[in-house]
Amino acid sequence: MFSKKTAEQIKFETRPNRVGAKAFYNNPKYRGWIYQSVLFVFLIGFFYSIVSNTLDNMSAQGIKSGFSFLNTSAGFDVLMSLIPFDTTDSYLQIFIIGILNTILVSVIGIIFSTILGFIFGIAYFSRNWLINKIAVIYVEIFRNIPVILQVIFWYTVFNALPIARESLNLGDAVFLNVTGLYFPKLVGESGSGVVYGAIVVAILAIFAIKRWAKKRQELTGEQFPILWTSLGIFFGLPLLALLITGLPFHLDYPALKGFNFKGGISVIPELISLAIALSVYTGAFIAEAVRAGIQSVPQGQTEAARSIGLKESKIMSLIIVPQSMRVITPMLNSEYQSLVKNTTIATAIGYPELFTVFAGSALNQVGQAVEIMFMTLAIYFVINMVISLVMNHFNKRTELSAR
């Protein structure tokens, strides 16, 4: 039971006598210090030269340093922003708009790529030969084509759509044309607060029922139809509230005014192309992860489940998928992180996320590359850290507890 270091030291002490074998530079303890001091000196020199060169170059080019530029007016427009914005606003606001747009497209991408990934990952195990082949083809095509090419492709397809006057029209409510996707907005009137309240109550009730049902199953072994009850409560309670308050909502339909649509919710083509490309690309990797996870569950589990007479659909949802989550969750973590990093490809089509507006447009105008890159990278690190924390928390709950 030697630790590594003592083993090394024993070797050093018992080594046959060579010239210099007992010299201080051959002692592992001192040698470690020597290596590390050399590395330290090298790094200090390296960073010193970088910093001094950068300062020299910046003063030669007349670039200021510091973060005071954040308060000055940006003077350019942003294609899309989730908060009110006009061209006199500051770079700090540009920064925040960029972050919000990055988060928006990341969340959309994560949701849809997970759905796609699970559908195709499970479809791989379908007994239907066609479904299995479609899952294989989906994965092999979309993960092997560079994502930036995919986003440019979808953007090109979008640009081939008809103009606003000849929009693709779905029931006079949803419109799709070259300027984007338009659909109705739900507008609340007085009394709508009661309905929102009902939704909150419904969610809380579902959690309570879930806990109660779990406890009851542990005590008596009786199962409670949680899914149907939850669905009933989730839709029933708000519906009741709607009827009591007399439908305090109306839909704001998009309508063609002049050259484009007004009203409703509009989604710009850049966002749609980016979301499609990221979801489809990451979805292919998630499908692979799901497949690997399901394959990691021993065959005996399926056989045992069959032998106690579970239905095939129940075997998947109750036995296989929960166990495969141990393998899938860590992989999902890294796929989500690479999805967030890949949102930077927005810069190829001009969707105004953080990288495009801040490290692109703002950097072009201000020229303070060091500060702006530092701020931009810090945000990506923070977002990825949050994802990592959430997924690790989730992982703790699914991982196999060692006995």
């Binding site: 290596y35 330290f40 970088i50 084509i145 992180q337 990093k341």
Partner: protein, 368 residues
């Protein structure tokens, strides 16, 4: 009190057919209600979409000609691709000097083939130095000024060969760096370990596009004012650092796969640290890491397309500038992108097939 009598069910009739095409169709396409509906829906949509696509791609496509006026039929205009094929593959590299690019690609293919053919005894001794020399030989030939050939400046390099050579040159140089970082991460020296961890986490956590951007806007600031580092060289540095971080993680998992008995055996015969690492551990790490190394290479190869954002004329950038050429303004974007997609798909797919086959060959577990 009546005792329940055991009554066996009557014997089931034998299944109608369990072999042959009809049984296969029944089992694989129409085994349940859900499957029947799914099969009909899928076949229906294939019938609706496929004939039109095949017609557009192949039958009514324009295959021969040299200019846009030759695209007379309704289908895809592949003339666009063939007319631009030299630029797509070689960028603006001078036509008379193309043999140099070909030579580099040939050398690369040769060394890769060599590392598979050579007997085990020679493999690491010959293949590793050959790989490490390759990027520098490539540089000498592609640039040419140092060996007496007419110089071709890097702004003329481009096209698909640039994607391939840049990715290959990066992974080769990233190999030793990644190995050192992985060793550093496993080392007992606290400072060396934290430096390695910081490097690895920084380059893995940063979007590759942001790294390329830093290569184009920040790296020039880091060098002394009178040193003008070539743009492609800066990109290469960035790619090497980025790759090294990923390779370090690949090697780390490789290290973890080596049983501790191997280390102890090396210690017991009195090998020093570097002897132990290079002679005993390294060959085994390479062997188990091979599929992951290929996967990392595929990733970097795909990421070379990101270079178009900082105006490096790689393949997709060539296509995009060809699309805006005044002689070809006719909307051949779909053809162009499909072609790039197909080329990348073919390369990446064949590499992932190779990775799977290596993995299968190395898999000696019995739990099948």
């Amino acid at each position: 009190m009546s005792v329940k009598q055991f009554k066996p069910l009557p014997a089931q009739p034998a299944p109608i057919m369990t072999a042959g095409p009809i049984a296969w169709v029944r089992d694989n396409l129409f085994s349940s209600t859900f499957n029947i509906i799914a099969t009909i829906l899928i076949i229906g949509s294939l019938v609706a979409v496929l004939p039109g696509m095949i017609d557009w791609l192949f039958i009514s496509a324009n295959w021969s000609g040299t200019s846009q006026s030759d695209c007379v039929k309704d289908g895809a205009c592949w003339v666009f691709i063939s007319a631009w094929s030299q630029q797509i593959f070689y960028g603006s590299y001078p036509t008379d000097e193309l043999w140099r690019v070909n030579l580099c690609l040939f050398l690369l293919a040769g060394v890769i083939a060599l590392s598979f053919i050579l007997p085990d005894r020679l493999r690491n001794k010959v293949a590793v130095p050959a790989f490490l020399l390759l990027p520098f030989i490539g540089l000498l030939f592609l640039d040419g000024s140092m060996i007496g050939l007419p110089q071709v400046t890097t702004n003329l390099w481009g096209g698909f060969s640039l994607n391939v050579l840049l990715a290959a040159a990066s992974i080769i140089i990233a190999f030793p760096f990644g190995f050192l970082w992985a060793l550093g991460r496993r080392s007992d020296m606290p400072f060396a370990r934290s430096v390695s961890v910081t490097c690895i986490e920084f380059f893995r956590g940063t979007p590759i596009l942001a790294l390329f951007f830093m290569g184009s806007v920040m790296l020039p600031l880091f060098f002394p004012a009178d040193v003008n580092v070539d743009k492609l060289l800066r990109v290469w540095i960035i790619l090497v650092l980025f790759m090294s971080a990923y390779m370090a993680e690949v090697f780390r998992s490789g290290f973890q796969a080596i049983p501790s008995g191997q280390y102890e055996a090396a210690d017991s015969i009195g090998l020093g640290y570097w002897q132990k690492t290079l002679l005993i551990i390294f060959p085994q790490v390479i062997k188990v890491s091979m599929p992951n190394i290929l996967a990392t290479f595929v990733m970097v190869f795909k990421n070379t397309v990101f270079l178009l954002v900082i105006a490096v004329p790689e393949m997709l950038q060539v296509i995009m500038s060809a699309l805006s050429n005044s002689n070809w303004l006719g909307g051949h974007a779909i053809e162009g992108y499909l072609f790039v997609a197909f080329i990348f798909w073919a390369c990446c797919f064949s590499m992932s097939l190779l990775a799977t086959s290596i993995e299968k060959k190395l898999d000696t577990s019995h739990n099948k």
